[in-house]
Amino acid sequence: MKRTMKRTMKKTHVSTVINGDEIDFLCDPSQTLLDVLRDELQMTGTKEGCGTGDCGACSVTVDGVLVCSCLVLGVEAEGAEIQTVEGMAGPDGDLHPLQRKFVEHVALQCGICTPGLLIAARSLLANNPDPSEQEVRFGLAGNLCRCTGYHNIIKAVLDAAAEMRSA
């Protein structure tokens, strides 16, 4: 039912910058930014866990602000600068220190929560390059992980923060 509805709807044209690239898309006004990224732009790095703001798997930044893309409309992204997990590794495929430390510390199992955690962790470190363990735990409280028990995620973020400070 929803699917046929979408097809008949009048689409809105939206211009954005995503991970540094100018990207325009067409979307229906009730479509979330998460659905636009995944279904219209085939950028499936950003995950959907709940669709209701509870899990953080869909975390992206919009104009530098960390948000759940499932709680943002695609049309609201007009003129905005968006960062997703696809933009974290360098152009030559060099992993971001956070990504490298996640691998080193085995901070993921199924990996569904990982893109959201990476984006949230990068946002945390941008505001606070030297967080305490407690600050990391609070900073990532909006990202749920059903597999790892969080311990290795926290270790990976603290380790990446230390490396990024000394870089």
């Binding site: 509805m5 008949t8 709807m9 009048k10 809105t12 229906d28 006004p29 009730s30 979330t32 669709g51 209701t52 703001g53 509870d54 953080g56 975390s59 602000v65 960390l66 948000v67 759940c68 499932c70 709680l71 943002v72 409309l73 049309v75 609201e76 007009e78 949230a120 946002s123 609070f138 900073g139 409280a141 909006g142 990202n143």
Partner: protein, 293 residues
């Protein structure tokens, strides 16, 4: 089934024109953290979404002669990043900081928290305790509404057809003022208050309480301003008898639901405990607060 339309007007006048002109099914959109969840679960399918975030007045945080004015669509994170507001209104910030995760606060506004009219909304008790006044504008002009008069029942507010909350004024307080909010939740983060209590009080130079307002959330169909609880402190040094009277007044005002998250008895009991705790914090803050802001 309707096709949703989206409009992002740049002025209050334009927003009201759209909102009152939209026959039915027009919805105001601030941060969307309630609205999009309701749309996702097919509770609502608005014909027109009116995004308020492009209206400068709704996004401003300003120190005016009478106090701090915050736009209704200012996000939690924007408030957290505003040092002046945070130091002046720590009790309000206790509530704002509890709204969901950082991701949620990146979008969620105090205006939406209040207009959504959940009796458990965390910024509402401290805004009421602060004596915050909403500027509401509609097709018939502007009016000033105390925050305690906005929520009516879960999901229902007192705004009239076509009305929009533009901003909130948090009136200046005297030196020696302090506020605090605490809630009880089964989990420490990302949960809905089972009870929440806020206080805002002022001590004069002699240490006597000259002003106190107490508000309690999640114990009735809306957040309650408990006048008797504030009055129990006024004229006292906010010590044993006074705080006992405050606790009694808070408990007497509670008329909570009984559900799996908290029984009636539990909610009433906890409301009193939290009232005592927030008063202790507010006193510390009042003693530490310097000049009249």
């Amino acid at each position: 089934m309707n096709n949703t339309q989206y409009k992002a007007p740049a002025s209050v006048e334009k927003a009201i024109e759209l909102f009152s002109g939209a026959e039915i099914g027009g919805k105001l959109l601030a941060g969307g953290t309630d609205l999009l969840v309701q749309m996702h679960s097919d509770m609502i399918a608005p014909a027109l979404l009116i995004d308020l975030k492009k209206i400068p007045q709704l996004r401003a945080i300003e120190k005016e002669a009478d106090g701090y004015r915050i736009g209704a669509a200012v996000s939690g994170v924007e408030l957290m990043n505003h040092t002046g507001f945070c130091t002046t209104w720590p009790g309000v910030m206790d509530g704002v900081k509890l709204i969901g995760s950082l991701q949620v606060k990146g979008r969620a506004s105090v205006g939406g928290n209040i207009c959504n009219a959940s009796p458990a909304a965390d910024s509402v008790p401290p805004m009421i305790a602060a004596g915050a006044l909403a500027t509401v504008v509609g097709p018939d002009g502007a009016r000033i509404v105390p925050v305690e008069d906005i929520g009516v029942a879960p999901g229902r507010n007192s705004l009239q057809q076509g009305e929009i909350v533009v901003s909130f004024l948090l009136p200046n307080q005297l030196a020696g003022s302090g506020g605090a909010y605490q809630r009880f939740t089964p989990r420490t983060e990302m949960d809905i208050a089972v009870v929440g209590v806020a206080v805002n009080l002022t001590l004069d130079k002699a240490g006597i309480c000259s002003h106190a307002r107490v508000a309690v959330g999640a114990v009735a169909e809306k957040v309650l301003l408990v006048k008797q609880a504030g009055d129990a402190l006024i004229g006292t040094r906010v010590q044993d008898d006074a705080t006992d009277n405050l606790v009694t007044a808070v408990r007497a005002a509670c008329r909570p639901i009984d559900d799996k998250r908290g029984t009636r008895e539990f909610r009433v009991q906890v409301a009193g405990v939290l009232a005592r705790r927030v008063v202790a914090t507010a006193l510390e803050r009042a003693k530490g607060s310097g000049q009249n802001p």
